[in-house]
Amino acid sequence: MSKNLDFVKFDKVDKSYDGKVLVVKDLNLDIAEGEFITMLGPSGSGKTTCLMMLAGFETPTNGEIYLDKNPISNIPPHKRGIGMVFQNYALFPHMTVYENLAFPLKVRKFQKDEIDKKVDKALSMVSLSGFEHRMPGQLSGGQQQRVAVARSLVFDPQLVLMDEPLGALDKNLRESMQYEIKHIHESIGVTVVYVTHDQSEALTMSNRIAVFNDGKVQQLSSPDKLYEEPVNSFVAEFIGENNTFAGQVTNMSGKACKVKLNDGTEIIANPISVKSNGDKTTVSLRPERALINTKEKMDNNFKGKIEEVIYHGDHTRVRLDLLGNKEFILKVPNSSANMDIKMGNQINVSWNSHDARALDPK
């Protein structure tokens, strides 16, 4: 099966509500058929607006959206055939679970026995068989969520949009629902566009993640690349934890550069978005990439003072005062070798220059 690589295509889409501020700026985004793509970003970053434009509840101010190569700006929502899961589920409270699921089939004039079959199938997919005659109010949050997912899939749409569907659930339920939605996606191969502000949700579920900020896609890549190789300091900050050093590039040499920090020390970093000497930069380093008292040979070695130790069970978080950064965080696995971590102690911290990414200044 040859996959359609631009099943959904945002082509130079702008959106403004008041004619003064652009909520979405020049968005270009291709979504492949069968992909699970997540729009991730802080609130107000334009991700939900993009979803609403795709669903047809908002119209682009400029540009066009294509669904399977057809422009859809002039097609009303009910003719787009896109399934949607809403933030608060939006189950019809006066209908039973069965009637909720049958609604999209009835308006499409399916036969009664066909409706029964499809509803059965959709409910068993979310393991809610036997709940047909319950009212939504009689279901728990997680069950309502599953009904909403089943309803968005019951009429076999090619594209399903999910607008922060797990936002109202508690942590455990949210995690199990993440896997469940992921498995459903894998088993039926539907294209999913998922909106969330929860980065762990995005990282666990998606094929690709589009990080939104300020109306623009900051980075579009697979979850591992996004985490390991952020292209700018917003993404580095937003995804996962991050230690930063502000400084100035002093010596560019191909795959490495020297960065002079504000306190005068020089560190070696990996130049990502710096071009030449004198560029201001923010160096980003993931906490788990810095090691203490290691025997491995690494090209950055410094001494820091332990300011705070927070016990987390399987690991300990250590806050250091390192190179003028009092918020330097380390994650230390709980093993007998690291028992000497005490407040006030001086320890050696080392990392590879490859992991210290010199990004744009904040």
């Binding site: 669903a55 009910h78 399934g83 939006a90 019809f92 309803r151 968005s152 009429f155």
Partner: protein, 417 residues
């Protein structure tokens, strides 16, 4: 723990139930004292007057007490021919006693309700009775006026013998107990009340319908507009609500009269000829227009409070699942507003059915309602028992509507806000 007796005891050995009651008694008394003023108020201003009305509407003791001897002697009379001398005699003595106590006027009013023509013959009897001689009262009374020799009038007196009567209720629906004691309708040209009842129901129904048709879109707009606009609109809806009812009705009179603003406008745009201005006042049209406007907020507010709770994402869900805007509205939105519709319609209908001031002022002859008739009997004819009877019939009607409504929609589904 005393598991043997099955009763759970507290640590002090008192049964738990007793201890619980004791602990809650204080709260119960407190709660009762807090609601007691309202309870008392309701008893005095609501329950008691309604009870009194009920008594008044069936009470017919007045005549019974005024003519005790007459009714006693009438017990043997079969009512076919003129009563025997004995009846005339006791009537004479009863009447003389009333004249002495100066209560004969009341008797004549009461008897006149039963049959027209009593007033004048009683007045005449009073004048002539001074010169009556002892014995043979039948002859002497019959000589006063020829109606005293008419058996119909004596039957009319006899009909007032029971202490309680359903006559006022029958009168309320244009029926009466005829001479043979059968319940029959009055002649067609005298059936005023039935027309009024039907008109009241008709006007209340159409006012409710008009209110619903106009309030639904407004309420929807109110519920969906952003806060700063919806507040303004809400004030526009409520402003008339805060204006005096009389002022509003009077302004409708100014607007709707034949030389009024609305008619002037119609003439100006050439819709009607100047010498052929439509009458919109002192008829049903006036009542419809004014009552609909006045009762509109009672429909808007319950609808609004229900619509406010309906998440806009439900309509979106309906559309995204393939429903046209109309299907999404009809299958998703509309069913969810039914509690508000029920509350609003019930409220407006019940208010409309007993409406008084507006129809009295703008209704004219063809636009008045049953409540105006009740007021008429309260103030003009002073037939309070008839007014009470009609008031109670109205109350019963409202309760019946409520009951029907409960069967159809379910009172639990009402949402007033």
């Amino acid at each position: 723990m005393s598991s043997e007796t099955g009763k759970i005891l507290t640590t002090d050995g008192i049964p738990l139930e007793v201890s619980l009651k004791k602990a809650e008694r204080k709260n119960k008394i407190k709660a009762f004292l807090l609601v007691a003023p309202l309870l008392l108020f309701l008893l005095i201003t609501y329950i008691f007057p309604i009870g009194d009305m009920l008594m008044r509407s069936v009470d017919d003791k007045m005549v019974t007490e005024m003519l005790p001897k007459t009714f006693k002697s009438m017990e043997k009379w079969d009512g076919k021919e003129l009563p025997p001398e004995e009846v005339f005699e006791s009537f004479y003595f009863d009447f003389q006693k009333l004249v002495e106590e100066k209560r004969d006027g009341k008797l004549s009013t009461q008897l006149n309700y039963t049959k027209n023509g009593f007033k004048s013959i009683l007045k005449k009897l009073r004048r002539k009775a001074k010169n009556f001689e002892e014995g043979n009262y039948k002859e002497q009374i019959m000589a006063v006026h020829k109606r005293w020799a008419d058996v119909e009038y004596w039957r009319a007196i006899q009909r007032r013998a029971p202490a309680y009567t359903s006559q006022k209720y029958l009168k309320g629906i244009d029926m009466y107990k005829n001479e043979e004691g059968k319940i029959v309708s009055v002649e067609e040209d005298r059936r005023v009340h039935r027309i009024l009842w039907l008109r009241t129901l008709e006007i209340a129904f159409f006012v409710t319908l008009l209110c619903f048709l106009m309030a639904y879109p407004i309420a929807h707009l109110l519920a969906t507009l952003p806060m700063k606009y919806s507040n303004l609109l809400m004030i526009c809806v409520l402003l008339p609500f805060w204006t005096s009812l009389l002022v509003r009705t009077a302004s409708w009179m100014i607007l709707l009269q034949q030389q009024g603003v609305v008619n002037d406008f119609f003439v100006m745009i050439g819709l009607v000829a100047d010498d052929n201005r439509p009458e919109m006042m002192f008829n049903k049209t006036g009542t419809y227009v004014a009552m609909t406007q006045i009762l509109l907020p009672f429909m808007v507010l319950p609808l609004y409070s229900v619509m406010k709770t309906i998440s806009p994402s439900l309509m979106r869900a309906g559309k995204s699942l393939g429903g046209t805007p109309f299907v999404a509205f009809w299958k998703v939105y509309f069913p969810l507003t039914i509690p508000g519709i029920g509350a609003g319609c019930l409220l407006v209908f019940i208010l409309a059915i007993g409406y008084y001031i507006t129809p009295a002022l703008v209704g004219g002859a063809s636009g008045t309602l049953i409540s105006n008739q009740i007021a008429f009997h309260m103030k003009s004819t002073l037939d309070w028992s008839f007014a009470s009877a009609m008031g109670l019939m109205l109350l019963a009607g409202v309760l019946a509507i409520y009951w029907v409504y409960n069967k159809l929609v379910g009172v639990d589904n009402i949402k007033l806000g």
